[in-house]
């Protein structure tokens, strides 16, 4: 009797979430896998037809697509792996030694950048990198050459924007990880005369390697799906020079009305994301 009641409760309480997830998450993913193989367009088409791997063939022959893949790689490596990850670890490590007021101040500023809505962050960094913006004002003051960053180095500008916006996440992950290293271990190394860098390399990094793996996975996935930040700053331009895959996908699907082709690109992005996701699960497998 009790068991029957429990399985009923179980089924009933899971239902709303499962229905929502199936209809609005699994559904679109399945639909994505379907229309990626069709020539569906935005307007004026009676019935889409099945075109096999044509969309993918078009993509790999498309210079603009290869450009977008390359820019996505640059964006991910520069802003996530090098930028957010390294800066986040450095901030977390320095914060352990710094005095309390400085720690609080830095935490507040870095986290504020993270909590701001994506579009607002985009505007702030647009203003910062524009020809008449703050960065050039500072360079002027230092008598260094200025340039129109959003035109000359758009992909670097948006990468720095993503570092500005996303570093707090890595900082919080690493602050938590470093806080769990027992004090005796670092103190013992200090007494043995190991310097700061050697302690970092031989003791700290190996001890937090699981956090490093988790963090790298999560920030890579977050960076792969950045859209609003780049869209606000450059619209993917000029001339496609900051057009990462999400922006390329959007342009093909909506500006050029090629939903089928845009979705094929989306499916590739989804597959790459899923692979990262599986690796992330393996890293966490002892936790579940």
């Amino acid at each position: 009797m009790r068991n029957a009641a429990r399985s009923l409760t179980r089924a009933l309480t899971l239902t709303p979430a499962v229905v929502l997830l199936l209809l609005f998450l699994a559904g679109p993913i399945a639909y994505c896998a379907y229309i990626a193989f069709t020539d569906l367009q935005l307007t004026g088409q009676a019935q889409e037809s099945f075109v096999g791997f044509d969309n993918f063939r078009t993509a790999f022959d498309d210079e603009a697509f290869r450009n977008a893949v390359w820019l996505t790689l640059v964006f991910t490596v520069v802003s996530a792996l090098l930028g957010q990850n390294t800066l986040g670890l450095a901030l977390a490590a320095l914060m352990r030694r710094a005095s309390k007021p400085v720690r609080t101040l830095v935490g507040a500023v870095v986290i504020a950048a993270w909590v701001l809505p994506e579009v607002v962050a985009g505007f702030l960094l647009y203003a910062f990198f524009r020809r008449e913006g703050t960065l050039n004002a500072i360079l002027d003051w230092l008598h260094l050459p200025t340039q129109n960053w959003l035109f000359t180095l758009p992909i670097l500008a948006v990468s720095f924007a993503n570092v500005w916006r996303g570093t707090a996440f890595s900082m919080l992950v690493y602050s938590a990880a470093l806080g769990e290293i027992p004090k005796e271990i670092t103190e013992a190394a200090e007494v043995d005369g190991a310097g700061g860098w050697r302690r970092m390399w031989h003791i700290t990094l190996p001890m937090i390697r699981r956090s490093i793996g988790t963090n790298l996975m999560l920030i890579t996935l977050q960076t792969l799906s950045v859209f609003g930040l780049i869209w606000v700053m450059t619209r993917g331009g000029p001339g496609g020079r900051s057009q990462t895959l999400p922006l390329f996908m959007y342009e093909e699907a909506f500006q050029k009305s090629m939903i089928g082709y845009g979705t094929a690109v989306a499916l590739l992005l989804l597959v790459v994301g899923s692979l990262f996701s599986v690796v992330y699960l393996r890293l966490l497998r002892t936790e579940v």
């Binding site: 979430a17 998450l25 500023v109 994506e118 505007f123 956090s211 869209w231 996908m249 939903i259 989804l270």
Partner: protein, 279 residues
Amino acid sequence: MPRPLSSHRTTHRLAADAGLLAVAAAFALPLAWVILSSLDTDADLRVKVPDGVTLDNFDAVLTPEITFTPLLNSLLLCGGGTALTVVCAALAAYPLSRFRSRLNRPFLLTILFATSLPITAIMVPVYALFVQVNLIDTLQGTIFFFAASQLPFAIWLMKNFMDGVPKELEEAAWTDGASSLQSLVRIVLPLMGPGMAVVTVFSFVMMWGNFFVPFMLLLTPDQMPAAVSINEFFGNRGTVVYGQLAAFSVIYSTPVILLYVLVARRLGGGFALGGAVKG
């Protein structure tokens, strides 16, 4: 011996302070721009101290058309999405946390897998699907999608928080004849107040800042939340009034900053991350 060590420590601390302050200054510049510009009617794109502080920019944007309607839309959209997310997540987390079953592990793994999928990638098919089932440009369609995209993480967090509530308290209620649902609502949820607060605030903040979802799924300008309507400042109104853009940005960002501070205070800074991404 203690003396050189402690002076060594002081040097280290000063170096760390200096390094951190330099980074903080770099991070603070764009933030300084938005605050200073919002108080300056002659604001341009660089950080400068205004000649005189005025609230004229705020006066200019605080109209129904520019601010109140988009903020109300944001509130309906994100409030609705958050409510749906939290209710579904709490219900789903309960059996996952309380009853043993062979299905728990595969279900949780699927949920965890879904938390890290790039949602951006499925927006084109979601758009195509919504056109077919007439959910495009509707508030409820967007709310459903928001809730579904936020649910995996919300369920995962909620389950972890629920695991922290001892089972014995409920067993007492069960012997008194309470049903599972009653014990969830009367005993478990009240005991995980901070956890509920984290899930609620996190979902709300994520939706409030989301640009791509409403940008794709809503078409009518009157329905647009602040995340999308803010682009109007760059639209067809001729020259951009940066002071007003900054003032609007401040108004639009304030709720999420306040919510974050509220929750972070109670939970000591780690926010939702502690339970979620422990490596």
